[in-house]
């Protein structure tokens, strides 16, 4: 199952809820302001590093770029995809839930 999140984890609880209500092994795609969750050295980096071991975490490249976040700044294990990759994730998983 694919879960998308579009809110900054520093501003709203959507990312937390996506972790709480997704099964282990799910795919989580961070889009829009949720891409900030992928940042190394943040106050929530520990939670995200833990999540990388239980979920497959993806981040949308066009949204990373718009916000000036370089790939080197991301937590290891998070995978970068474009809009094509977003479509592929939606095809690969049989259902999609958007945490707004």
């Amino acid at each position: 199952m694919l879960h998308t999140v579009n809110k900054s984890p520093f501003q709203k609880n959507s990312f937390d809820t996506s972790l709480r209500l997704s099964r282990k092994g799910s795919d989580i795609l961070l889009i829009e302001d949720a891409v900030y969750a992928a940042l190394k050295d943040s106050a929530i980096a520990k939670t995200v590093k833990q999540a990388v071991t239980t979920h497959s975490i993806y981040v949308l490249e066009p949204d990373l770029m718009a916000r000036g976040l370089q790939p080197a700044r991301l937590i290891k294990g998070i995978q970068i995809v474009g809009y094509e990759g977003f479509v592929e994730l939606a095809v690969k998983n049989d259902k999609v839930q958007s945490w707004l």
Partner: protein, 135 residues
């Protein structure tokens, strides 16, 4: 149109502060006519939608809370409320409207629609759905 699908409406917003919950309820009521397998989840501030005793007389907004009572008549009888969300907000199930439905398979007995589940149970229920809409 083929097989029946599992539709779940996931409610995560409080009432009145934004319109999502009201317009989300409108979707659920309209959707009931389509004979799909429908359930609703109340998570995060969504649990506040079911709070008893809503009174909008002083704020001038439309009080739509009574419409939740109609869900049973529309055969929407599975309202999952996340235990962790209730607890974090200092609420118990007694704070919620006593929503019920008549069970056609059990001599039309009146039964509670609200089912309190924990996060792990709800994650499993969500994973079983086909179509997920969010309000």
């Amino acid at each position: 149109m083929g097989a029946i699908k599992k539709f779940m409406y996931i409610n995560r917003t409080a009432p009145y502060g934004s319109i999502y919950s009201l317009e989300g309820l409108e979707v659920a009521l309209i959707g009931a006519a389509f004979d799909q397998d429908v359930s609703m989840a109340f998570v995060d501030d969504g649990v506040f939608q079911l709070k008893k005793g809503q009174d909008t007389s002083k704020s001038g907004m439309k009080n739509f809370s009574l419409a939740y009572s109609a869900l049973g008549d529309y055969d929407i009888t599975k309202l999952y409320v996340e235990k962790e969300s209730l607890q974090a907000r200092g609420l118990t199930v007694e704070d919620l409207m006593p929503l019920t439905y008549e069970d056609q398979d059990d001599d039309y007995q009146e039964k509670p629609s609200i089912r309190v589940v924990d996060s792990e149970q709800l994650a499993d229920i969500i994973a079983e759905q086909d179509v997920l809409l969010n309000y």
